[in-house]
């Protein structure tokens, strides 16, 4: 029997404590808990409980106090893992995607992908407010009709990596496509446009982007009602 396991654990949305602080929290909590238990009595119990909470906070990465006051020391990362079945053969889907310049056709948050050479490309994403976030990316691995993996090059506005896998879907249903993408903040701080971009990317948006990709591959267009006529009362 094959057991289903998500191949990429999704980043817990609720984690608001950074990794080094989590480690510190666990260590300090463990020390306090051990001391409190050894001391006994009421003061000792309070220390043990506080230590216990710190250990819990460190191990889950969740801090209630941080949440209340709206602080997060966790690195923001957006991790996306989505799949879609497209009723076309693998080689068609692969070659459309391998021409990275096609990506803005269906990924609306990507404004432009300029192919530099066989491996390298320049990406421009638009964040809300018309601000652009740019990076250079390099294809780090590929196998025809199987997968394409890419990663942003150092000194980019944003750290990004992605992989798209292609396989023949069972039951003559065309191609199963899986996309995995990560957007990380480079280093510690993040510029306002990068934060805005990350805030705007959602699972729903990525699902919609894959839906558009499927629509283009299956029907040759993205069906729309934008711009169609409708009744408007005078003055509306």
């Amino acid at each position: 029997m094959t057991r289903y396991e998500p191949r990429y654990p999704k980043t817990g949305k609720d984690v608001n404590v950074g990794p080094s602080e989590r480690l510190l929290s666990v260590l300090l909590g463990g020390y306090m808990a051990a001391r409190g238990v050894r001391k006994g009595r009421l003061g000792g119990l309070a220390t043990a409980l506080a230590g216990g909470y710190l250990m819990y906070r460190g191990s889950t990465g969740r801090c209630n106090l941080y949440e209340k006051i709206g602080v997060s020391t966790a690195r923001r990362a957006i991790e996306i893992d989505e799949s879609v079945i497209i009723n076309r053969p693998v080689h068609e889907i692969y070659s459309y995607w391998r021409n990275l310049g096609n990506i803005p056709e269906f990924m609306r948050h990507i404004e432009e992908v300029r192919v530099i050479d066989d491996k390298r490309s320049h990406w421009v994403a638009s964040a809300p407010g018309g601000i652009k976030v740019e990076w250079d990316a390099e294809i780090t691995g590929e196998r025809e009709n199987e997968y394409i993996a890419w990663k942003s090059l150092p000194f980019s506005d944003i750290e990004s990596e992605g992989m798209v896998e292609f396989s023949t879907a069972p039951g003559h249903r065309g191609t199963e496509l899986r996309v995995h993408m990560i957007y990380n903040l480079p280093g510690d701080g993040a510029s306002a446009p990068v934060q805005r971009l990350l805030a705007a990317i959602s699972f729903r948006q990525i699902r919609e982007e894959l839906r558009r990709f499927k629509q283009i591959m299956e029907t040759g267009e993205v069906p729309t009602t934008e711009g169609q006529v409708r009744g408007r009362a005078v003055g509306e």
Binding site: I85, N87, R173, G174, R204, R207, E208, R211, K214, Q215, E218, T219, G220, E221, P223, T224, T225, E226, G227, Q228, V229, R230, G231, R232, A233, E236
Partner: protein, 389 residues
Amino acid sequence: MKALCWYGKRDLRVMEVPEPEILGPRDAIVRVSLSAVCGSDLHLYNGHVPSMERGDILGHEFVGTVVDVGGRVEGFRPGDRVAVPFTISCGRCFFCERELWSLCDNSNPNAYAAEALYGYSPAGIYGYSHLFGGYAGGQAEYVRVPFADSGLLKLPESVSDEKAVLLCDVFPTGYMAAENCSIQEGDTVAVWGAGPVGLLAMKSASLLGAERVIAIDRFPERLGLASRLADAVALNYEDVDVDEALRDITGGMGPDACIDAVGMEAHGKGHGRVYDAVKNKLRAETDRPTALRQAILACRKGGTVSIAGAYAGYVDKVPVGAAFNKGITIKGGQTHVQKYMPRLLNLVEDGKADPSDVITHSFGLEEGPIAYEVFKHKEDGCVKVVLKP
């Protein structure tokens, strides 16, 4: 152009709006020569279908003439006289390839909204809320038809607009409802609702080999029509206990198949009616499934319940225990119109069926708001209304 627009619950207005334009390479623009009002339009009119917006153009049954086509339309050109199925289907996805046209993967631009309610999105439908794409409908002078090659049926000269307009929805819907009953020679089929779909389901059941058809309604004119057009045994549920009557007619066995051609706004009587009315008011239940409950309870062991009336959301107190323990098959769904249109057109052309005898009223498009009222209240023996732009 003139168009009939939804402005709120029981508020329709005839508006002057711009003419539609080609938006995609597979679009066509059709000048409407006749449109019809469907029972499911009444669900919109009565405010039962979520996600309607002020100004939406109604109508999903219409015939007309192609006046313009996009660059990638192959099979149609200006001047072609056509009927338009209410389901908008791309013709290229998994579902379209299997003739499950109303389940098209690609034609609903608001698929995410439908997914939130249904898990997966069905096809887009003209003038049938934003859950089904928010497409402008055909109760207008002109309409935009996406995916024209898989969404138009060419009409021969010999078939009138009145006959053809019924091929867009109600005749295929009635026919699919009967086909879903897997009728064997000699079967008895009971049909709840003697409106246009119910009447055409009765006719289709006979065409498919049913020996006896039973019509259940509360309007004597409609029951009269059922007897006259489909040779049905008429049951008025306000006068008789339906369950008892069906048992009696079928020698205690129950009908082999039961068709619910009523859908979400069933009236019924007794406790169920009060229960649903209260839950509707509290918004704890979207639809009123009185007919569906009766159909499941009345159906014979191992029989089929076929749902042709539209349901939108959630219903309560559906007797699943009866369905399970009697081994009943339940089938339903929006009609896969493109699958049935050609063969039904043949029946009409050969004179083997004339669906237009359910049309009782005709209005001008500008009288649309009146037409809806007449249809809703079944005034003057109204069964089916058509609108002439």
